[in-house]
């Protein structure tokens, strides 16, 4: 099973890169030089690799959020909203709190998670009380969160000296420090992957989440408390998405700038789908997608290829991997069946 997944990933990535190369050739670019530039600015070298990892943090965290939710049968599509709410709460904390860094940093991370939890909690409670589908509710809450945060940084928390909507910088004690080229934000990411894997595969509740995601009626008849589990998953995945937002602020611009959420959360959802909701796979694909996005910016500096090619590559990657997953499995099984049939015949 595992080796098949790795094979699927490697084959998918290779095919996607080849299709990307063909597109570049058609447009008159040199694909080899382009890929060389792309990976030179994202993977080869400590600084590019550190940047790739740092950029991967919001992708991986929101991807984990989506993967955990989907694998548990919870349709949390509210990562974008939970992310900006987490970022806003962390920013507000960073503006008004003044603690030593060893308290300030965990404190702001906690606030970010609380932001995500509160926003996911709204959807969870609406389902609990009124049986409203979390699918539509989380999607709608994204829009509310989006405009609410824009309002917050345009009026109450606006940096008076700035010309566009943004908050002032947060207290430098809440900035995530660098270790060499590496931003410490990546420890949060690695920590989250490890902790989530542990929850999912060692916790009793994690066992129930997994089974509920695969067959909720079986879990229910087996005595699992479906409602409680739903609430737990919703809040936990909300916390992950919120943390993603907080870390973006603390590691990067150190303030909430309009458009800060960008496409991180939707990319994260996409990565979860590509990873088939596997937690480790989400981490690996997250880093790879980040490498493409990060490298594209560098590539644009030294080649004529526009950085939009990164989005084209990403899209091809998603389509190829998702499309080939079932096909590859079916093909491998068919080959095995043929072989058996031939052995029988002789």
């Amino acid at each position: 099973m595992n080796s098949q997944r790795v094979l699927n990933g490697v084959v998918g990535v290779l095919i996607a890169l080849i299709i990307g190369a063909i597109i570049m050739l058609v447009q008159g670019y040199n694909p080899i030089l382009t890929y060389q530039a792309l990976f030179q600015y994202s993977l080869f070298g400590w600084y590019p690799f550190a940047t790739t990892l740092k950029n991967a943090v919001p992708l991986v965290l929101s991807g984990l959020s989506a993967a955990m939710a989907f694998a548990s049968g919870v349709v949390n599509l509210g990562q974008p909203g939970q992310l900006v709410m987490g970022a806003l709460l962390a920013t507000i904390g960073g503006l008004y709190l003044d603690l030593p860094p060893e308290l300030m940093i965990p404190g702001l991370a906690l606030l970010a998670m609380i932001g995500g939890v509160l926003w996911a909690g709204v959807a969870a409670l609406l389902r609990q009380w009124f049986e409203m589908s979390e699918f539509i509710v989380t999607l709608m809450l994204n829009m509310i969160a989006d405009y609410f945060t824009v309002w917050a940084i345009t009026y109450p928390f606006k940096d008076a000296s700035a010309y566009s909507p943004m908050t002032p910088q947060i207290n430098p004690k809440g900035w995530l420090p660098l270790i060499g080229d590496f931003n410490t934000t990546i420890f949060f990411m690695i920590g989250a992957v490890v902790v989530m894997w542990f929850f999912f595969n060692r916790w009793k509740a994690g066992y129930e989440w997994r089974i509920t995601g695969q067959n909720s009626l079986f879990a229910r008849l087996g005595g699992c408390d479906i409602q409680k589990n739903f609430m737990g998953v919703m809040l936990l995945t909300g916390a992950l998405a919120g943390l993603a937002g907080g870390l973006v602020v603390m590691a990067g611009p150190h303030r909430f700038i309009k458009g800060l959420g960008a496409n991180y959360a939707w990319d994260g959802v996409m990565i979860a789908i590509v990873a088939n909701n596997g937690l480790i796979a989400t981490f690996l694909y997250g880093v790879f997608f980040s490498a493409i996005q990060t490298g594209a910016l560098g590539m644009e500096l030294i080649t004529d290829v526009p950085s939009e090619i990164a989005q084209v590559l990403q899209a091809i990657l998603v389509l190829v991997i998702v499309a080939s997953r079932e096909y590859l499995n079916a093909t491998l099984e068919k080959v095995a069946a043929r072989r058996r049939a031939r052995i029988r015949q002789t």
Binding site: M1, R202, W203, K204, G206, Y207, R210, I211, Q214, N215, L217, F218, A219, R220, L221, G222, G223, C224, D225, E333, K334, A336, A337, R338, R340, A341, R342, R344, Q345
Partner: protein
């Protein structure tokens, strides 16, 4: 008679390595009723699906009237005159009989408008031709299962099919409905149609067929003339050893009442009454069989007992504890439950065997807890799975294999083992042997009888009357949501229960 169809050296392997058909060659003659018998998993259905173009063979060839054919889909098979009626009936419930029959090949007038009169006339013609007694304007959801089966057959006859494949058509019928089906099939044969009849019920096969092909574990054992064989011989060929058709139930007097239902009513959200004034007791050391045609409230009763549906009124108690409104986990402390649908209710097919084996135990047995219940004790869970597999003779590739990699019989053993190891005073069995082969059925029956001798109270719902008679101490009949009979097994007969199932009351003499 000439061979109409010849299937030669058919091999079919289901990925990754289940050999469903192992070099099977068989021929069918024009105008005969040819039965294919075998246990579940013997390959009968697969063989027919290959003939019908539903699934491709990995090697071998098919000859129709001497010409090699290969159908890539059922449409091609129907065009060549071969049609199949499946176990599960696939009609549109909201459509009328005639609408279902013409669907897909409707006569049309200009601009593609449906020619209603012509369609009805054509359908009526077919019904008259074969003397099927059926109202073409009835909606399919309102007619009986037997009538639906007729509609399926008519759908094929309407398409001028001359070879009919029927996959276990009697499994959904009551004893009284079967002779009528057989009459119709015989009439079709006399009209020159060829009938291929899949079954594992030997008496009916002997009664109906001209020739019988026996299959076992993917191999053809023999094709025999029905007039020159008997039930014992067929059973021996089918199973590979002597089979006893005897009850192994010992006499034993039941103890105190363990499971008790009082005045239970259930009205569905659409206002229809699903369960009406159900009163039911199951005593310790007693097996109560609940008979009934499917869809008469069995599903709702199970759901209400298990806490999936809330009753409108009434009381359910186990061991004199009221569980009418208890959360499911509380019920599970006292109720072991083997559902009829393994993949939907009894297991997660994609999860591994360990994950399936420990369900419910993980909350009720403290040995599964670490860190005061926060963590699941996986080493113990694996050990527990091994114990279960050993105790219930589960054959599995490895503990970490996905559940669906197990055969149906082994899946059922895991589920049964899991539930019986809960050691609950009350056991609810919903069609515990559905879809199992003879060997597995015997095994499950032995386990159920063993639980009876240990003093468990057992309520068994089954559509298989033979099973009910083999195991039960008392038989209840569920008819339109009501229990219409409660009779000790010694004082009743298959015919009496069959009548009660169909009509809800004893037949007037």
């Amino acid at each position: 008679m000439d061979n109409l169809i010849e299937m030669r050296n058919i091999i079919k392997v289901y990925p990754p390595n289940v050999v469903a058909l192992d070099d099977v060659s068989v021929d069918f003659r024009e105008g005969e009723i040819h039965s294919i018998v075998g246990e579940n998993g013997a390959g009968k259905s697969t063989l027919m699906k290959i003939l019908y173009g539903l699934t491709p063979a990995d090697s071998g060839e098919i000859l129709l009237s001497g010409k090699t054919v290969s159908f890539h889909n059922p449409g091609e098979a129907i065009a060549a005159g071969i049609g199949m009626v499946h176990q599960e009936i696939v009609l549109i419930p909201q459509y009328t009989v005639w609408e279902n029959i013409v669907l897909g090949v409707e006569p049309v007038r200009s601009f593609g408008r449906l020619d209603v009169e012509k369609a009805q006339q054509l359908v009526r013609q077919k019904i008259d031709e074969f003397q099927f007694n059926i109202d073409i304007h009835a909606r399919v959801e309102d007619i009986s299962v037997a009538a639906r089966q007729k509609v399926e057959i008519l759908t094929l006859l309407y398409r001028n099919v001359s070879i009919l494949i029927l996959d276990e058509p009697t499994s959904v019928l009551t004893p009284q409905e079967i002779p009528q089906l057989f009459n119709e099939l015989a009439r079709l044969r006399d009209n020159g149609h060829t009938i291929l009849f899949i079954s594992h019920r030997l008496e009916e096969v002997l009664e109906l067929s001209d020739r019988i092909t026996v299959m076992r574990k993917g191999k053809k054992i023999a094709t025999v003339e029905a007039s020159q064989t008997n039930r014992q011989e067929l059973a021996r060929m089918m199973v590979g050893r002597e089979v006893l058709f005897l009850s192994r139930r010992t006499t034993q007097s039941p103890g105190r009442v363990v499971f008790h239902i009082e005045n239970l009513n259930l009205r569905a959200s659409d206002g229809r009454t699903r369960l009406k004034e159900i009163n039911l007791d199951v005593r310790s050391g007693e097996i109560v069989g609940l008979a009934g045609v499917e869809g008469n409230g069995q599903f709702e009763l199970v759901n209400t007992i298990m806490g999936i549906q809330k009753p409108t009124s009434g009381r359910i108690s186990v061991d004199s504890t009221d569980i009418t409104h208890a959360p499911i986990l509380e019920r599970r402390r006292k109720i072991a439950f083997v559902p009829q649908d393994r993949g939907k209710m009894g297991a997660s097919l994609t999860a591994d065997i360990v994950d399936n084996a420990i369900m419910t135990h993980h909350r009720l047995n403290d040995q599964f807890s670490l860190w005061s219940g926060l963590l699941l004790n996986y080493p113990f869970a694996r050990h527990f799975t091994d114990v279960l597999a050993e105790k219930f003779a589960v054959v599995m590739p490895s503990r970490s294999a996905p559940f669906r990699a197990l055969s149906g019989g082994n899946q059922q053993k895991v589920i049964l083992g899991r539930e019986l190891m809960l050691n609950s005073p009350f056991i609810l069995l919903d069609q515990p042997t559905r879809g199992l082969d003879v060997g597995s059925i015997e095994y499950v029956h032995d386990q159920i009888l063993h639980m009876r001798s240990e003093g468990k109270a057992i309520l068994m719902i089954s559509a298989d009357l033979e099973e009910i008679f083999l195991l039960s101490d008392r038989i209840l009949v569920l008819y339109r949501g009501q229990i219409v009979a409660d009779i000790p097994v010694e004082q009743t007969s298959l015919e009496e229960i069959g009548t009660l199932m169909l009509e809800g009351k004893p037949r007037d003499e």
